[in-house]
Symmetry: C2
Subunit: 354 residues, 2 copies
């Protein structure tokens, strides 16, 4: 990649900044007057021509201003963006909101989606933490009514799954409690495969239940992420580039088709990186539906145990600085929260009621 002169870098940044707020091609004159540049529009024009040659800008037509290309954004994000931290007061406000809803992972996820959408003025998406390789921590069987029992699985990452299960014959809680204990001891720390291996030692009711548990875990592991929480969709649809119905519809497709998001989330390694945050610009040639979009992705949780993804989905001209810093901050905050919740040595939070 060719190196740019200092002045070219400045001008590229300005074009991106200007285009980001106006969404119309930016011309030499507009740049000079708007940013009070110390040079004439002709000089700027020359630089713009150079940047266009480099492939960082393009002209919609001969007599129009310049628009950043994907390459332009990539260069900008990887070299020219100094992802600033969020203001201190903002950080504190957000932290406070999270600490309000202590220990409820689902609420955290929702809150994260909401905060992310608000801060980035774009659409946000957050997946709940997903166990990377589910290991059982605790299993409990609860009699509810008749032949119905509730199976509760507590995984090592702190994730809880539960499901109703109807037996062939009624059992009482006594029996179930014994089974729970026996099963927990047998399978503690085991992942799906290990459970399958140890399955032979069981028979009767226990075997049935375990079979189900394994199936359930398998299913959950196969689907990378269940619900994806989203927020701020209207932020994005009001942007001028999605003014035509066609584009609006396409954009909703992205959101409705979970598979695409899952695909993306799974391949977070592609694209630009900025302090642990991934930036995908214009679909990176791979995802056609995203040609006009950019995606800023981060992850949170406890690596190796249980992690989730959070990101901002916006038009290609979105404010990357703001998106990146918000994602990074939330990513760290949520990781901390989850770690706290899961540590024995934790001395911060208590369950006391007011």
């Amino acid at each position: 990649m060719t190196e740019l002169s200092e002045r070219q870098k400045i001008i590229l940044s300005l074009v991106i900044h200007e285009y980001s707020s106006t969404a119309t091609p930016v011309g030499s004159h507009a740049l000079v007057s708007h940013y009070k540049l110390d040079m004439s529009s002709a000089t700027v024009r020359n630089e713009l021509a150079a940047l266009t040659d480099h492939g960082f800008l393009r002209q919609p037509h001969t007599s129009a201003g310049r628009v950043p290309t994907e390459e332009g954004y990539r260069y900008f994000v990887s070299r020219l963006t100094r992802a600033s931290d969020l203001p201190d007061t903002t950080r504190r406000t957000i932290s406070h909101q999270f600490y309000q809803m202590r220990n409820d992972v689902e609420q955290w996820v929702r809150l994260a989606a909401s905060v992310l959408a608000y801060q980035s003025r774009a659409a946000s998406l957050v997946t709940p933490p997903h166990p990377e390789h589910s290991r059982l921590k605790h299993l409990e069987l609860i009699a509810t009514r008749g032949r119905q029992i509730l199976v509760v699985l507590v995984m090592l990452g702190g994730e809880v799954r539960q499901r109703l299960f109807t037996l062939v014959e009624p059992v009482n809680q006594e029996q179930l409690s014994q089974s729970s204990e026996r099963l927990t001891q047998l399978f503690q720390g085991a992942d799906v495969n290990e459970m399958r291996a140890r399955l032979a030692q069981l028979q009767g009711l226990d075997a049935d239940v375990v079979q189900w548990v394994i199936d359930d875990l398998l299913a959950a592991d196969a689907i990378p992420t269940g619900e994806v929480y989203m927020d701020g969709l209207t932020n994005v649809l009001s942007e001028p580039e999605f003014t035509g119905s066609e584009e609006a519809r396409k954009s909703l497709r992205i959101i409705e088709e979970r598979s695409l998001l899952q695909d993306l989330v799974a391949r977070t390694s592609a694209g630009n990186t900025q302090g642990g945050v991934q930036v995908l610009i214009g679909g990176e040639g791979t995802w056609d539906e995203l040609r006009q979009w950019s995606l800023v992705l981060g992850s949170y949780g406890m690596p190796g145990l249980s992690t989730g993804t959070l990101g901002v989905l916006g038009p290609m001209r979105m404010s990357y600085g703001r998106a990146i810093s918000t994602v990074r901050f939330l990513s760290g905050l949520m990781s901390d929260l989850m770690a706290e919740t899961n540590l024995d040595e934790n001395s911060a939070s208590t369950g006391e009621m007011n």
Copy 2:
């Protein structure tokens, strides 16, 4: 409301049908030729004029065809629509899908949203069953790690709530099991208020937990419905009436702002009824955001115990017959499923694995 002649009713139905598929004003000539009517366009024109006088049709401008008014749709839905049942094969296919995922309420809700969107070719929304007046069926405390315990509540409606809870001091499973049993016996069948009344009898850890349980139940009761599952949004955004960005954005607002939906769901009594299904046309003068929309709402579950809402959200010219019959069918099917799951006498479903 003035009575219409038979022929006027037919013509109104035809106009609505035609407009429903073309989305453009329908003229006298188009009606005659398209439906091979046994009269001339002039006759039809006279009837159209009469229907316009009645307020059931209107003309966008002097030389345009007719478009049904809200009043027109109301008349049509309440008198002219004979909500046919879904074809037998369709019903069987759908039932089969539901029985595939036995006993998992969340999956049912999702499936319902998906089926509803597909069958009605519009957007669907389904709320999970909400306990009308939560009564505790069973309470279980599970030790997970250190001072953390998992509180699982099984409500009478079959709904399950669980939350992690951090204690001030560690306890072992032994103690917790005893507490579980004690608490379950004490509070079985009690709603929030009764629990509060019986609270005095407790102290120590138990009191703490119960306090929390009560708070949680209160919170859950206050919020009418948590997640609303939706599907088929793109079905609707591709419709010509939402072609301008402004309308598309507005429509998303409806979907994003849960409060509106909750408001609607809470006041399902307003509007037209068709065999237990509510039809709201054009916002019924109350909801401005819905001026272009119609909503077909039904409920499912066990009245008095736990009920949810399901509905179709589409353009005002949507196919009411199809929407109504699908909502009605799903409403019945899901009620049956939930009843089955909750009956002791139930002899149909088993938990056997294949």
